[in-house]
Assembly symmetry: C2
Homo-oligomer: 339 residues x 2
């Protein structure tokens, strides 16, 4: 198996992608990686790898980089020598089995659609994130792949999200909720209520609207929303977490009592943190395209990238794309509402 | 001053609105309140009020209730004897100066627009929430008043939000950010980028896009978004807070060490909680209508309602609506982009 890792994507490239590649090859003896990017910039970070690991990491040169400022679809078309385009073309040609990138979500989405193509019947692919909440892992989808959604998009996210949770988390008949500004039937706008009608008419295990408050309760296996809202919500949660951390750090700096308290609390804090360690959840799968594509947070360090490479390997081993395609065809035959 | 309090709105009505009314009149000797709702249900909760307080609380009978399941605009038109409609009509006739309700956001929005009317030039009013973040109070607007927004709506939220922060938080030239799925110019959809262009062309202190992560950093005085996203984001944050609380409670139940730690940590936790006590921020102002309307969270207890009544009194004392109207006219004259 060969996974193409975009060595130039994200805030800490190429250092963190290179370190993640070393870590991944060390832990998984069957893994081969291609670090795609500027050879001269990548090389120094691979020096510390032992020979067995180093022999399974190829550097594939790509002289351009797609930045967060670039227009996604224009840059995919014009920057043919960029690390992301080269990585996608490796999957397209059959040379690689999947792509991992912590580059711009928009560029990854555009590249996946333009260079790998959508699974037949899929209108817009979606970016999901499997997040640990109370007693359950919930896939939130979409979190930035499709900013503006039509009802069919929300419906198809529910379908793909259900398949994903069944395949990768062994959830039988995953429950699906649609994010809304209230749980009452009259909430939402035309897009939301049309999506609800499609879900009710399908054989998806749709259980109604969910409010933002409900998600952390682990209210469903899949929570569906448009990419703009999903993105804002997820990032806001992240920002709140950071705010709380900073507040406690300030307290520890200026007061002794809480510092003593922390010593006693630490085991509990560690247990809670371990329960919600999103980094271990293997990146954000971009579902609905003809290839295993996993996006990683732009600010990710080696550890998160390592788990994303693992998640991609798992996706490929489980023939994720093929099984989603088959399930889609089967469901399409069953309820006739796919497109 | 007379404020009409919807005694039947929210999950804990009429008990909590009644207790909040007693508390508010006890603390503010110049305050008169009208508790609007079912007289027989309200009376028992006022028995414990002393005579001075009781003499300043009127019960205004309303036999109907608008529930969270009712269609907002239909129920405002049809349930003419509902507590919310009666409360709005008291403001409309000049009998009361403002309305406080923890009823359905949609019904409050519809009632305010249909019965009080919009401030001239305002396309859609917005619900704001002033939230304490790092070193700054940020008004997030809209959080559920206008689910689906046009560019003009986002622009006008920025305008009204700026005026609000200037009037009530003494912020000179409040900074405004527009919530987006990235900070780069190419992010967002057509609505977002059209709103950005309007903001750039205005004399509002617009400082660019903000991501969800940025909000808790206190990145701006006003953060603008559509009501669907704002609602989801805020409720998700609330849900995360509850999740963390539950996790720690479980730890304290099963382990002794963290319990000891909590004793030492408690002063720090209390200081942090005091810094972010949203309940004290006086409810959610519904801006853009001809009246002082403040929405309170449906799950609010007496304390949060008490602060909302205080906030409304403050809004009325400061002639909030009139000053927003004047500022709008002035700004309209200055930059000519109001409508």
């Amino acid at each position: 198996m060969l996974i193409a890792v975009d060595a130039m994507g994200g805030d800490f490239a190429p250092k963190e992608p290179c370190e993640a590649a070393i870590l991944a090859c060390k832990k998984n003896k069957n893994l081969n990686l291609a670090l795609v990017g500027d050879t001269e910039k990548i090389k120094p970070f691979l020096e510390k790898a032992d020979s067995n690991v180093r022999s399974r990491i190829d550097i594939v040169h790509a002289e351009e980089v797609i930045s967060f400022d670039d227009s996604p679809s224009i840059s995919i078309r014009k920057k043919k020598k960029s690390s992301l385009v080269v990585a996608f073309n490796m999957v397209r040609s059959g040379e690689a089995d999947g792509v991992v990138s912590s580059g711009s979500t928009g560029a990854i989405a555009a590249g996946a659609v333009l260079l790998l193509g959508r699974i037949p019947g899929i209108d817009r692919p979606g970016l999901g994130v499997a997040t640990p909440f109370e007693n359950r892992t919930t896939l939130i989808m979409d979190v930035g792949g499709t900013v503006h959604c039509k009802p069919i998009n929300l419906y198809q996210f529910a379908l793909m999200g259900s398949i994903y949770m069944k395949l990768f988390y062994n959830v039988e008949n995953p429950s699906v909720k649609l994010l809304c500004n209230g749980v009452e039937d009259i909430k939402g706008d035309e897009v939301i209520s049309a999506a609800r009608d499609m879900l009710l008419a399908s054989n998806i295990n749709y259980e109604g609207y969910a409010e933002g408050t409900d998600i952390p309760k682990g209210i469903a296996d899949v929570v569906i929303c448009d990419g703009f809202t999903g993105n804002a919500l997820l990032k806001f949660g992240e920002g709140l977490g950071e705010l709380i951390k900073r507040q406690f750090k300030e307290e520890f700096k200026h007061h002794t009592l809480p510092k003593i308290g922390l010593i006693f609390m630490w085991p509990a804090i560690r247990r809670i943190m371990a329960r919600f360690e999103w980094e271990k959840y293997g990146g954000l799968p971009f579902l609905g395209v003809n290839g295993s594509v996993v996006k990683v947070h732009g600010r990710s360090k080696a550890n998160a990238l390592f788990y994303a490479i693992n998640g991609t390997a798992n996706f490929i081993n489980n023939k994720g794309v093929g099984r989603i395609r088959e399930e889609l065809e089967r469901k399409n035959g069953q309820d006739g509402t796919l497109c």
